[in-house]
C-alpha cells in the first residue's frame, strides 16, 4: 500500500507541447496534484499587430500545426466580420469540407498514435510497426485521408495558405473531388474496424459531471460556425463571448485559464457530443450506441471515444458535402469575394478538434491589425482537467505510485491537449 508518492512528470509524452504532471501524496493524503503548462509562449497576440489583414490570417494559422485549418478559419471569419466581407455559399461549403479533413486527421492521430498505446499497454505505436503492421497501416491510411481531404480543398493541410480572406486562391480539381469521395467511402470500413477495436478496450471508469461548452448550429452538428452554448442552458451569439468566457492568468502556467458558469468547464469532442448528439450522422449515432456513448457522458477518459464517433460523422458528412458540391458545381466567380480594407472589430468561433476556439481582431482603416485575442480550447480545458485530477486522485490513492502516475498521464492525454497552441 502506498503511503507516499512524489510524482513529477517533466514534459509528459505523447501530447502536443510541453506540460508537467505533478502529484504529491503524503501519508495517504493528497497534498498537491496539477497539470502545469510550461510551454514557451510565442506571443501571437502581440506579433500580429501592425500586419495587414491578409497576413494576419496566415500568421494566425501558425498558432497550431495540428489544427491550422481551425485557426485559419477562425481568423478568416473574424477578419471577414471586421471588414464586412460576404463569402459565397460555395466558399462556406468548401471550408466546412476542409474542416472535416482536419478533424479526421487530428482525431485519428490522437486515437491511434497518442491514446491507443496506453490502452494496449504499450509505450508508443513504434512496437506495432513490427508486431501489428496492419494496424499501423490502417492508422496511417485513416490519418492520411484527413490530410488529403483538407489539402484538396485548402492546398495544404498544415498552414493552408490557399484559404484567403474572402475565399480561396484556387479552385480544387473536380476530378480529384470524385477520387476523394471514393476514398472516403472506402475508409468507412477502417473506421468500423476502429470502433470494433475500441469496443474491446477498457477505459478507467472515472465520472465527473461538469459544464460542457461548445458551438451549436440549428441545421447541423456544429464545427465551422454556430452559436455559443453551455450545457447549463445558456446560448448567445459568438460576438458576445467576452460576456461568458473569462480568461485569467494562473501560476504554474503559460496558458491562461477560463471560466463561465462554473469555475471550470469542458470543451471538445465530448462536450460537442453531449450538447449536439441529435445532429450527429445516423451512422455516428449507431456507433455511439455500440460504444455505450449516449449522452450525457461524464467520463473524461471517454473523450477519445467521442472523437472516434465524430470521425464517423465527419467521414459521412464529407461525402454528403462532396455530393452537394458536385451537384451545384464549383464556379470561378464564387471563388473569391471582393475585400476592401476598413476599420472594424470582428469575433469568430469555430469548433477545433479539441474544442471551441475564439479569434478576435481589430483593424484600422488601412486594414492593419490593432489588437488581437485568441482563446484556445486546450486553455479552456485546463481548469477542468485540474479539477478532474483533484477529484480522481484520492479515489486511486491506494494504487502504486507508478500506476497513479500512469492513470494521471492517461487522463491528461485523454483531453488531447494541444499545449503549444494553448500558450501561443
Amino acid at each position: 500500500m502506498t503511503t507516499d508518492a512524489n510524482i513529477h512528470v517533466h514534459h509528459i509524452t505523447r501530447v502536443e507541447g510541453h506540460g508537467d504532471v505533478v502529484a504529491r501524496i503524503e501519508d495517504r493524503m493528497l497534498k498537491e496534484v496539477r497539470f502545469s503548462v510550461v510551454e514557451a509562449p510565442r506571443f501571437f497576440e502581440a506579433i500580429v499587430r501592425g500586419q495587414s489583414y491578409g497576413e494576419v490570417v496566415h500568421i494566425a494559422s501558425r498558432i497550431c500545426g495540428i489544427c491550422a485549418v481551425s485557426h485559419k478559419c477562425a481568423a478568416l471569419q473574424a477578419t471577414e466580420a471586421a471588414l464586412g466581407v460576404e463569402i459565397s455559399p460555395q466558399t462556406d461549403l468548401l471550408r466546412r469540407l476542409a474542416f472535416h479533413g482536419e478533424v479526421l486527421s487530428s482525431h485519428l492521430l490522437h486515437i491511434y498514435f497518442l491514446a491507443a498505446p496506453d490502452l494496449l499497454g504499450l509505450p508508443s505505436v513504434m512496437p506495432l510497426i513490427n508486431s501489428a503492421p496492419e494496424i499501423v497501416r490502417r492508422a496511417m491510411r485513416l490519418k492520411q485521408i484527413g490530410y488529403d481531404l483538407a489539402a484538396m480543398v485548402a492546398g495544404r493541410h498544415t498552414h493552408p495558405v490557399a484559404m484567403t480572406v474572402g475565399g480561396f486562391s484556387f479552385l480544387h480539381d473536380p476530378a480529384q473531388m470524385q477520387e476523394m469521395r471514393a476514398r472516403l467511402v472506402a475508409i468507412l470500413g477502417d473506421l468500423d474496424a476502429t470502433v470494433e477495436l475500441f469496443s474491446t478496450l477498457e477505459l478507467p471508469d472515472f465520472e465527473r459531471e461538469t459544464e460542457y461548452v461548445s458551438l451549436t448550429h440549428p441545421d447541423r452538428y456544429a464545427f465551422y460556425s454556430g452559436e455559443l452554448m453551455s450545457s447549463e442552458g445558456d446560448r448567445m451569439p459568438v460576438s458576445e463571448y467576452r460576456e461568458a468566457i473569462h480568461e485569467r492568468v494562473v501560476e504554474h502556467s503559460t496558458a491562461k485559464f477560463t471560466r463561465w458558469n462554473r469555475p471550470e468547464y469542458m470543451v471538445g469532442a465530448l462536450a460537442r457530443l453531449n450538447n449536439n448528439y441529435e445532429q450527429l450522422h445516423p451512422s455516428a449515432r449507431e456507433a455511439a450506441e455500440r460504444l455505450g456513448m449516449q449522452p450525457p457522458v461524464h467520463r473524461p477518459y471517454a473523450i477519445t471515444v467521442a472523437q472516434l464517433i465524430e470521425c464517423i460523422h465527419c467521414a459521412h458528412d464529407a461525402i454528403e458535402l462532396i455530393d452537394e458540391l458536385t451537384q451545384t458545381g464549383t464556379h470561378a466567380e464564387e471563388q473569391q469575394a471582393p475585400v476592401e480594407a476598413r476599420a472594424g472589430l470582428g469575433v469568430a468561433a469555430v469548433e477545433a478538434p479539441r474544442g471551441i476556439l475564439f479569434h478576435e481582431y481589430e483593424y484600422d482603416d488601412e486594414g492593419k491589425c490593432v489588437s488581437a485575442n485568441h482563446v484556445i480550447p486546450t486553455g479552456q480545458n485546463l481548469g477542468n482537467l485540474n479539477r478532474d485530477m483533484l477529484e480522481f486522485t484520492p479515489t486511486i490513492i491506494d494504487e502504486s505510485p507508478d500506476r497513479i502516475q500512469h492513470l494521471l498521464e492517461m487522463l491528461v492525454r485523454a483531453y488531447d491537449p494541444c499545449i503549444s497552441c494553448s500558450t501561443h
Partner: protein, 277 residues
C-alpha cells in the same frame, strides 16, 4: 558503392531523436504525413526519443531532428546539450533554421510583448528575443519551410544517410514555380515573395495560386533593393503596372511583408545583396 545497413557513416543502425522548441509542431506533423516514405526511412534508423509520439526515451542518439526557435535561457542549455550528444543535428523547418514568425516579436521589448499578452500578471514568465537554432549551435543539415518542405526533408535524409553534404538551395522559388508551369501570381495582380525566397518547397504556395509568403527565408543573393524598385516603379508595363497600382505599397509595407519570415537577424532592406560589389 553499395549501401547496406548498417549505414556506413555511423557503422551501425543510427539512433534518432526528435526534439521541439517554441513552434507550432507542424513540422513533426508534416513529417508524419510522409506515410510510406516515412516507413522506408524508419527502416534505416531506430527512433529512440520522440516525446510527441512515444514514451520511451534514450539519452543516447546519433541523429537529432530539432524544430522550433530558441526563446528562453533554458532552451539554450537544452539545445547545447543536444548538440553535444548528437553526431548529426538536423533542423526542421524555418523556426529552427532561419527565422519565422517567432522572430517578429524581436521588434519590441520583451516587456512589451509580455504585457500585451499577459497584462500585469506576467511576472513569472520569462522570454528572450527569439532566434533560430542555427544561431545558437552548429547545424549539420538545415531544412526550411513553414511547415518544413517535405521534398527537402526527404532529400536531406537521403543525403545524410549516404554521407553527403546538403547545401540549402540558393535559388528563388520562381525557378520551381516556372519548372512546374504554374501561373505567376503577379499575372493576377498579387505580390509574391518568390523572387527573393529560397526555393526547395517545389513552389507549393504558387501551385495553388497563392503568393509565396517567403516562409523559407531569403536566398543568399536576394536582391531586396530590386524588390523595392519593382513594386514602386510607375513606368512599368501592363502586368507590373497593375500590381503597383493595385497595392501602392510603401517601402515600409514591403519591408513589413518581408519581415514576417526574415527578422533574424533584423531585416535590413538595403543590405541583403552580397551578389554585387
Amino acid at each position: 558503392m553499395p549501401q547496406e545497413a548498417p549505414i556506413p557513416r555511423f557503422g551501425h543502425k543510427p539512433q534518432v531523436a526528435f526534439f521541439d522548441f517554441a513552434c507550432c509542431e507542424g513540422c513533426q506533423l508534416s513529417v508524419l504525413q510522409l506515410e510510406e516514405k516515412l516507413l522506408e526511412i524508419l527502416g534505416h534508423v531506430d527512433v529512440v526519443t520522440w516525446r510527441e509520439a512515444m514514451t520511451e526515451t534514450s539519452s543516447e542518439y546519433d541523429i537529432a531532428f530539432c524544430e522550433g526557435s530558441i526563446t528562453t535561457e533554458e532552451d539554450i542549455e537544452r539545445i547545447r546539450a543536444i548538440r553535444k550528444q548528437a553526431e548529426v543535428l538536423v533542423t526542421l523547418g524555418s523556426c529552427a533554421s532561419g527565422g519565422c514568425h517567432n522572430e517578429l516579436k524581436n521588434q519590441w521589448s520583451m516587456d512589451e510583448v509580455l504585457g500585451v499578452v499577459y497584462g500585469d500578471d506576467a511576472g513569472g514568465i520569462s522570454t528572450i528575443p527569439s532566434r533560430p537554432i542555427s544561431a545558437v549551435v552548429d547545424v549539420d543539415y538545415q531544412t526550411f519551410g513553414c511547415p518544413v518542405s517535405l521534398p527537402e526533408f526527404v532529400t536531406v535524409v537521403s543525403c545524410m544517410l549516404t554521407g553527403q553534404h546538403y547545401e540549402p538551395p540558393n535559388q528563388p522559388v520562381c525557378v520551381e514555380c516556372k519548372l512546374n508551369d504554374y501561373v505567376c501570381v503577379y499575372e493576377k495582380g498579387e505580390v509574391c515573395l518568390g523572387p527573393v525566397t529560397r526555393c526547395g518547397c517545389n513552389a507549393i504556395c504558387t501551385s495553388f495560386g497563392h503568393a509565396c509568403q517567403g516562409c523559407r527565408g531569403l536566398m543568399d543573393s536576394a536582391n531586396l533593393p530590386a524588390m523595392l524598385k519593382a513594386l514602386t516603379r510607375e513606368e512599368a508595363h501592363s502586368i507590373m503596372r497593375m500590381v503597383v497600382e493595385r497595392h501602392s505599397l510603401t517601402e515600409d509595407e514591403i519591408a513589413a511583408k518581408l519581415r514576417i519570415y526574415n527578422n533574424w537577424p533584423e531585416l535590413r532592406m538595403e543590405e541583403a545583396q552580397p551578389d554585387d560589389d
